[in-house]
Symmetry: C2
Subunit: 301 residues, 2 copies
């Protein structure tokens, strides 16, 4: 898994501070998570191939998380996209996008699928052979979901050094990957253990933005490899955080600590803070494995 | 009058090629004309005070001319704007904007007035003491208007060198400005001609984007001081221009020539052309007073 932050600032785009958007690469997938105004320009700047994005996840309908979506959809059309595009987001997102396409008299020449969300409990919204994606219900001023990306356990891996010593037919290699022992044509019995390695460990990434301090998400994000959690404010504005249903850096750290996550990445900074290092200073005493997001930064998970 | 180009490229925003938006300064007004994605960032880059913009004119509902509007409206709210904002644009624009504000549960704390346009003939849409604004019906794939900004003739100007020789009461100065002769208390008769100068000549600016070659606009834009006319294509793509209802550089020049405008500015370039100087090469033989728009460029009218 690889997370590429495109924008990690709140409220309003500035020339060098882009609103929320990030790309998660998992196996063959490239998932776009949130899409603030200007995201298409940031995708280009980060040299991300538009055609690889087939799924977009929108946390909530505040502008700094989705005003770039309609432009991205239009640009995909202008570039002659043919692949389907799936959009996951709160109920209402389909009406917003289709109204604009209708009034522009410019329907997409690719298929656009809307998966509108309105459940209050966590739900499975995507599943294939290699991973599952579920919502993480968040506590914000409007209906908001975070997203949990969870790899499935893969097949056992062939130990090439050991395999080379035998003449193993192709169909038996598949059995080995599935954990079975095999018998060669000459009757030799070979244990699975002697020829394979454990599957790669699975990775889990949780995206939580925007949200007030909310301990009810902890069971869902327990021990994830990386948690991106919003930290709009510092402690001196904790009243403002409560009022606007955002989190402070130390609240994000507290959630990370309680959920025993492996790494925490903070973002969604309010533009009032020039020096982002204060976000580290306030969170480090509570949770030591914390890093700061910045536009264009890549986190290998 | 002063025209500040924020973006003059078609279709899709790129890092260094912004979609359509421009600001026209006329006397006390700052008018925003079209508002492609990212316009709010370009406004900041060009150091234009947000609070001075009270009127926004949207030519048509293609994304490269208005996808930045909802973000700008939201940012105005976040900055605590109190002044009214007037939006002029095709029918449908009110529904698009209000739907997004409703779903974000974030109404503006200033008054937002929509002036929806649907007439096929030119209409007067704004008038105050100093200027008039009318639509210029254009020929594009969706309902589209250009805009004609026309100053009203001002008062006669007092000739300070001459005025100083007399003791003229304040109310008589107003009469002089209105073109009247005056009589001093001692019975001296003074002709208006001897004390005043002609009013400043009025200026007219016409904005025409997007449009196919369309001679029917000529009576409206006759002899304007500056015509901004789209030139999406060069001659080798004139078939594409006809098909998509855009203009070539030489078609824009032909309109300028027939309308006897004083200056022509070209913009709305297709991204397929790296070297914009070809737009000059193709238009200059037809109309000599032509210039190229570029993002951030200022034209004093």
């Amino acid at each position: 898994m690889r997370l590429n932050i495109l924008g990690c600032h709140s409220a309003t785009p500035l020339e060098n501070a882009h609103t929320t958007s990030q790309v998660l690469e998992v196996r063959d997938h490239l998932f776009l998570i949130d899409c603030g105004e200007g995201t298409q320009t940031e995708l280009r700047k980060n040299k991300i191939k538009f055609s690889r994005i087939k799924h977009v996840f929108i946390s909530h309908l505040h502008g700094d998380h989705f005003y770039g979506l309609v432009g991205l959809i239009s640009t995909f059309r202008l570039l002659g996209r043919e692949a389907d595009l799936h959009i996951y987001g709160p109920k209402g997102i389909k009406e917003i996008i289709t109204l604009q396409l209708k009034l522009a008299n410019s329907w997409t020449n690719y298929d656009l699928f809307f998966h509108e969300l309105e459940q209050k409990d966590s739900e499975l919204i995507f599943e294939d052979d290699s991973l599952k994606i579920r919502t993480i219900p968040l506590d914000h001023r409007v209906y908001t979901n975070g997203f949990l990306f969870e790899e499935k356990m893969g097949l056992r891996r062939l130990d090439k050094d050991k395999i080379g010593a035998y003449d193993i037919p192709h169909y038996e290699l598949q059995n080995l990957k599935r954990g079975k022992d095999i018998v060669l044509e000459d009757g030799t019995h070979l244990s699975n253990q002697s020829l394979t390695l454990d599957p790669h460990p699975i990775k889990r990434f949780a995206y939580c933005s925007d949200t007030a301090y909310n301990e009810s998400i902890i069971p869902l994000i327990q021990e994830v490899d990386l948690l991106y959690h919003e930290a709009t404010f510092l402690e001196d504005h904790q009243n403002l955080a409560a009022k606007t249903k955002h989190s402070t850096a130390s609240q994000a750290a507290k959630i990370a600590q309680l959920a025993k996550v492996k790494r925490l990445v903070l973002g969604h900074y309010s533009s009032r803070y020039r020096d982002k290092s204060d976000f580290l200073k306030e969170s480090l005493p509570i949770f030591e494995s914390v890093e700061l997001a910045s536009d264009g930064k890549i986190f290998d998970i």
